[in-house]
């Protein structure tokens, strides 16, 4: 007879093995897209007014005059060794951009995701449970309004209200200059670094800086979750096993919590995972609004400069995050829903 243990393990192994071809395809696609996109990185880096001979010389030096397949092989070889190269426009190490700015984005996105899940799940569950009540109407209205609001507008509004009028919270940057200067670097994620050092003053400062951008970004995506969770709860409450549970005299509380909410959240996990990609996209705008030194903001700048190396590196990181998220999601789903394992 099948036991659940080994089959979950087998599922995990299969799922992990599929990551290799996925990442390979992603790398190839990003590489090709950057070659197909118009614009020359070298001339962009030199300000667009350099003589053709200079551009040619630099292109040769960087290897951009070689055939595409040679560049591709070289690129893959470097990536396998963990070397993302240096940017063309300002000669920074792409690896360090990923580490430093990536950590800032990770911090922002993670807390935004938590806000989105908390807001979305709470409002969504309550709205779905008390369908068509005034609470539901309020929840739905809130969901639509926050989702329809552009993230930068909501961000500016938050800055105005909480930063300027009430003067409760800082409106920009990841931390105060003094905190940034004094904080030891362990992981590049300020929040974790401050905890490692037990530096509570710094932590307070970091959290204060985090609240507005994370809440802004989180609430916008919470709007998506609200609608999704609400509709799932409503649908699940109509399931046959809900009626069967009621027919066994299970109290309404257990019916709603154990049977309806749990089952309603299974499809939501998948959407939460997929929305991490959306969150990264939204992070670019949030980072710009709050002057957050994240990777999204860097991507925006390097894209304008046609900086192959930087864009390739950053996009690959985005892609890897999405892949990692989808794996986590699949495991979570398999763990909760036994039917997925087979």
């Amino acid at each position: 007879m099948n036991q659940t243990g080994p089959s979950l393990k087998r599922y995990a192994i299969t799922r992990l093995a599929l990551v290799v071809p996925m990442v390979f395809i992603l790398l190839t696609l990003v590489f090709l897209l950057m070659r197909v996109a118009p614009g020359n990185p070298v001339s962009a880096a030199l300000g667009g007014h350099a003589p053709p001979a200079v551009i040619k010389a630099i292109s040769h030096q960087l290897g951009y005059d070689k055939p595409v397949y040679v560049q591709y092989a070289h690129y893959l070889g470097q990536i396998i060794r963990g070397n993302f190269g240096t940017t063309i426009s300002d000669r920074r190490s792409v690896g360090s951009i990923i580490l430093v700015n990536g950590a800032a984005t990770l911090e922002l996105t993670f807390f935004a995701l938590i806000v989105a899940i908390v807001v979305g799940v709470l409002v969504g569950l309550v709205s779905g449970r008390f369908r068509d009540s005034p609470i539901d109407a309020g929840g739905r209205l809130f969901g639509i309004v926050v989702y329809a609001t552009p993230v930068f507008f909501l961000g500016m509004l938050a800055q105005l209200v909480f930063g300027i009028w009430l003067n409760w919270l800082p409106t920009s940057d990841q931390a105060s200059p003094i905190t940034e200067a004094l904080l030891q670097t362990h992981t590049n994620i300020f929040f974790i670094d401050a905890i490692i050092d037990g530096n509570w003053t710094a932590l307070k400062d970091i959290v204060e800086h985090l609240i507005l951008p994370a809440t802004t970004l989180g609430i916008v995506y919470g709007g998506v979750f609200i609608r999704l969770i609400r509709i799932n709860v409503i649908r699940t409450l109509k399931e046959d096993y809900i009626e069967a549970a009621r027919a066994r005299g299970i109290n309404e509380r257990s019916v709603v919590y154990r049977h309806a909410f749990r089952n309603a959240l299974v499809p939501v996990i998948t959407v939460v995972g997929l929305s991490i990609a959306l969150l990264l996209g939204g992070a670019i705008l949030t980072e710009t609004t709050f002057n957050w030194p994240g990777i999204g903001h860097e991507l925006y700048v390097y894209l304008q400069n046609r900086d192959y190396a930087a864009v390739q590196g950053i996009v690959v990181v985005f892609a890897l995050v999405v892949v990692a998220a989808s794996i986590v999601i699949d495991f979570a789903t398999a763990f909760i829903d036994p039917r997925v394992r087979y």
Binding site: N2, E252, S254, H259, V266
Partner: protein, 340 residues
């Protein structure tokens, strides 16, 4: 034998956009302990609504009127909380469609544990396990499968699990709503044997809702024939089958298929909609014996034999039939048009 359940003039209706649907309209029934009452009729005549209405499990917006007396207490007017406590240990329900009745995320064990903990909070873990496995064992589900998930079982097994889940609380009344309709004949025979053994093992009263007359003949002590929200005829199963009184029962019996069937008989027309049912006797547009009185006046329940009742003007009371009322009437064209 005393009645476990007594339904008196029960009316159940719910509002729709086109008007209120009177799914059950003045039904009276009795079920004695350890006996099986079969409830038969075409689809859409209110059988399932009646079955669920007894347990108070009606869709939102449904209304009930009349009495459902369970051991002397009226379930219709009972507080929802109190009624909820009766569901399970006193009133059980098994459904037509077993595939979707178990929560796919919970193990079979979780279903039993939840059910027993809800109603018998004093049970120890060990006792819960023992009782669950014992009940499942009677249904032919081995203990090795206790920790499996619903999707690992076939439809027949799931229905047996659902029955075990209802029986583990030893209810005094079990409503079985077409429990074998979605199963194959072999499994159907198994399930019916299990249900028939109930009264011997637990002294459970069973309301068996079905449209399969063969099942009723085999498994039921009494039978009630339902048409358009009303009980057309009720009596001991053997007598009703041997000598049906109501034309609808007769037509229904003629429509069954057996080895001797050479030509398929069907009742012309379809059951009426329950928003605006036909006037008088609701069966009159389809009745082969329709008389002048039938569309004009609501039939009155009579007892042609001490143990049987029927809702049809053929059996009187003669005093209520106006002069000339017994003359045969033309069958309405609508019924035939509907059929086309």
């Amino acid at each position: 034998m005393s009645a476990v359940l007594e339904v008196r003039n029960l009316r159940l209706w719910y509002g729709t956009a086109r008007g209120s649907v009177r799914a059950v309209d003045g039904v009276s029934l009795e079920i004695a302990a350890g006996s099986v009452l079969g409830l038969v009729g075409e689809s859409g005549c209110g059988k399932s609504t009646l079955g669920r209405g007894i347990l108070g499990l009606l869709p939102e917006g449904a209304r009930a009127d009349g009495e459902v007396l369970y051991k002397g207490r009226n379930l219709v007017t009972m507080a929802p909380r109190e009624l909820r406590r009766l569901r399970g240990p006193d009133l059980g329900l098994i459904f037509q469609e077993p595939m979707t009745r178990l929560n796919p995320l919970l193990r079979i064990e979780d279903h039993f544990r939840e059910t027993l903990e809800q109603h018998e909070s004093k049970l120890t873990d060990d006792a819960i396990r023992r009782r669950s496995l014992d009940t499942l064992g009677r249904m032919g589900i081995p203990p090795t499968r206790f920790r499996q998930y619903p999707h690992e079982f076939s439809g027949g097994m799931r229905q047996r699990i659902m029955i075990a889940l209802a029986l583990v609380l030893r209810p005094s009344l079990l409503v079985a709503d077409e429990p074998t309709t979605s199963l194959d004949v072999i499994v159907e025979a198994q399930i019916l044997r299990i249900l028939a053994d109930l009264k011997a093992n637990f002294d459970t009263a069973l309301l068996l809702i079905t449209h399969n007359l063969g099942i009723v003949a085999e498994a039921c002590d009494r039978v009630a024939v339902m048409y358009a929200g009303q009980i057309a005829e009720e009596g001991p199963a053997r007598d009703v089958f041997a000598e049906p009184k109501h034309p609808y029962t007769r037509e229904l019996l003629r429509s069954t298929i057996s080895l001797e069937t050479t030509e398929l008989h069907s009742i012309p027309g379809a059951p009426p909609n329950l928003i605006t049912p036909p006037t008088g006797c609701r069966f009159h547009p389809r009745c082969p014996d329709v008389m002048r009185v039938c569309p004009a006046r609501d039939p009155i329940e009579t007892r042609p034999e001490p143990d049987r009742r029927v809702l049809c003007w053929l059996y009187g009371p003669d005093g209520d039939i106006p002069p000339g009322g017994t003359e045969p009437a033309e069958r309405e064209r609508i019924a035939l048009a509907e059929e086309a």
